[in-house]
């Protein structure tokens, strides 16, 4: 998996990962709560409902439910924030 920016709260899987596998980051050892396909995102820490999902060091979306550490982060638990950030944050 890849963490693009130190401020990110998600990592990206660069191969298919399975439930129960562990990944290692400065956030400590993270046990995956679900299968994470290649290219999909993993929560490096718990992201509370309403908080930003951060990738590339900037907000890319907002959690619609509280996302647990090690969970899959995608359209089922993240809302787009284009209208909010298009003109700058």
């Amino acid at each position: 998996m890849i963490i693009i920016d130190p401020r990110d709260n998600v990592a990206t899987a660069i191969k298919d990962l399975g439930t129960g596998e562990q990944i290692y980051a400065k956030h400590g050892t993270i046990r995956l709560l679900r299968d994470i396909p290649f290219g999909h995102k993993i929560a490096l820490q718990a992201i509370a409902k309403g908080e930003y999902v951060i990738k590339y060091g900037v907000p890319i979306g907002r959690a619609t439910v509280t996302i647990d550490r090690g969970d899959h982060v995608h359209v089922h638990n993240v809302a787009d924030i284009t209208d909010e950030v298009r003109k700058g944050v």
Partner: protein, 384 residues
């Protein structure tokens, strides 16, 4: 740094020496294709050229003038009907000293006569263009266009930053780079505005995305309803902001010098990174805008795999997705997958792409050129 290119009478340098047959209007397309088929020249046909108003008309004229003036074009035959909005004589003026001929279907007795005369004229032009030879030119004289299609996570993590390194290197050498796809950079406009060289440029970056917002709002729609696409989502992209941030990485990291309209040439002596406010819609419309704006070569990143090139410019297809390298092996030019899978740093991969870019500038054919996949189409510019 130098490469070997074709110096045109106006001083501009090309990386190819095409003879093109250009329709001024859709109505002369059949004759244009017949002439090109018979002579091995490049047909430029489209669905515009008449009954257009305002920004659409201006755009069509810029695109067609951009074909004739393009440095990769050594000579042009312009084929009109005779009553259309786009004037063959005006297009001929865009040749700026290159060999050019005019043919109007109505003036020469209809389709069959036009085809026969056109073949003779195209053969004359082929002979004249054959007199052009490659000579040393500077890489600073090149404009790189950047584009992406069928984006996946590998685009944002590997292919786009690798093209971004090529862009930064070309800018450091004094060249120019175009970043387009207004509807794709939409979600990152605020972040891009922070990189603008002036407040005015920052304002323009936001403004071109305001126009896109208004365009969809008139239909009662938002761009985010269609973007990211189902394919993007399946590959792991969650929001338009995420897709846009990954997409703009292909322009590199240098300050944004300005914003130009679709198919508008950069100001003379311009260099650095520029944003082009390209057409909405299909990739070929955007390719056509950036190439007719003067880019000699386009670097195209693709996740899922896209085979489409340009009628005028080499298109280097870059992917970091192994399954695409296998599924579309004869369409891909550059493998950026070692960045993701190990074996190569981003920097090393960027150097390898730079070497490929220079080889293509010197004449190495891209896959889309070998396969005859050079398309051309005039799109619709968003109107406020």
């Amino acid at each position: 740094m130098e490469f070997m290119g074709y110096r045109r009478p106006d001083g501009w340098v090309g990386v190819r020496n095409h003879v093109v047959v250009v329709s001024t209007v859709m109505c002369s397309s059949t004759v244009t294709r017949a002439i090109a088929d018979a002579t091995g020249t490049v047909p430029i046909t489209h669905e515009a050229g008449c009954l257009e108003l305002g920004p659409s008309r201006d755009h069509t004229e810029r695109v067609l003038e951009g074909v004739v003036s393009h440095p990769n074009v050594g000579a042009a035959l312009i084929v009109g009907l005779g009553c259309e909005q786009v004037k063959a004589e005006s297009l001929a003026a865009a040749a700026r000293g290159k060999p050019v001929r005019l043919l109007k279907v109505r003036d020469v007795g209809g389709t069959e006569h036009a085809r026969k005369q056109g073949i003779e004229l195209a053969q004359e032009l082929l002979a004249e263009a054959a007199g052009a030879h490659r000579e040393p030119a500077g890489l600073h004289e090149l404009t790189l266009a950047t584009q992406c299609g069928s984006s996946d996570t590998g685009s944002g993590l590997a292919s786009n930053p690798v093209v971004g390194l090529l862009a930064d290197k070309l800018v450091a050498l004094g060249g120019s780079v175009l970043l387009g796809e207004t509807a794709s950079l939409y979600g990152a406009a605020g972040f891009m505005a922070k990189r603008a060289a002036s407040h005015e440029v920052a304002r323009r970056i936001i403004e071109i995305t305001d126009v896109v917002e208004q365009y969809y709002a008139r239909m009662g729609k938002s761009l985010t309803e269609a973007n990211p696409t189902p394919g993007n989502i399946a590959s792991g992209l969650t929001t338009l902001v995420e897709k846009s941030l990954g997409g703009v990485r292909k322009g590199g990291t240098t300050p944004i010098q300005g914003v130009v309209s679709a198919a508008e040439p950069l100001p003379s002596r311009a260099s650095g990174l520029w944003i082009m406010d390209t057409s909405l819609g299909l990739g070929t419309h955007i390719t056509t805008d950036m190439v007719t704006g003067g880019a000699q070569i386009l670097a195209y990143t693709t996740g899922g795999g896209n085979p489409v090139g340009s009628a005028l410019a080499p298109v280097i297809k870059v992917t970091a997705t192994l399954s695409t390298l296998e599924a579309m092996a004869d369409n891909m030019d550059f493998d950026a997958s070692p960045v993701l899978l190990g074996g190569e740093s981003l920097q090393e991969c960027g150097e390898r792409l730079f070497a490929e870019y220079v080889a293509v500038a010197n004449g190495k054919l891209t896959r889309a050129e070998e396969l005859g996949n050079g398309l051309f189409a005039i799109g619709q510019v968003p109107i406020a």
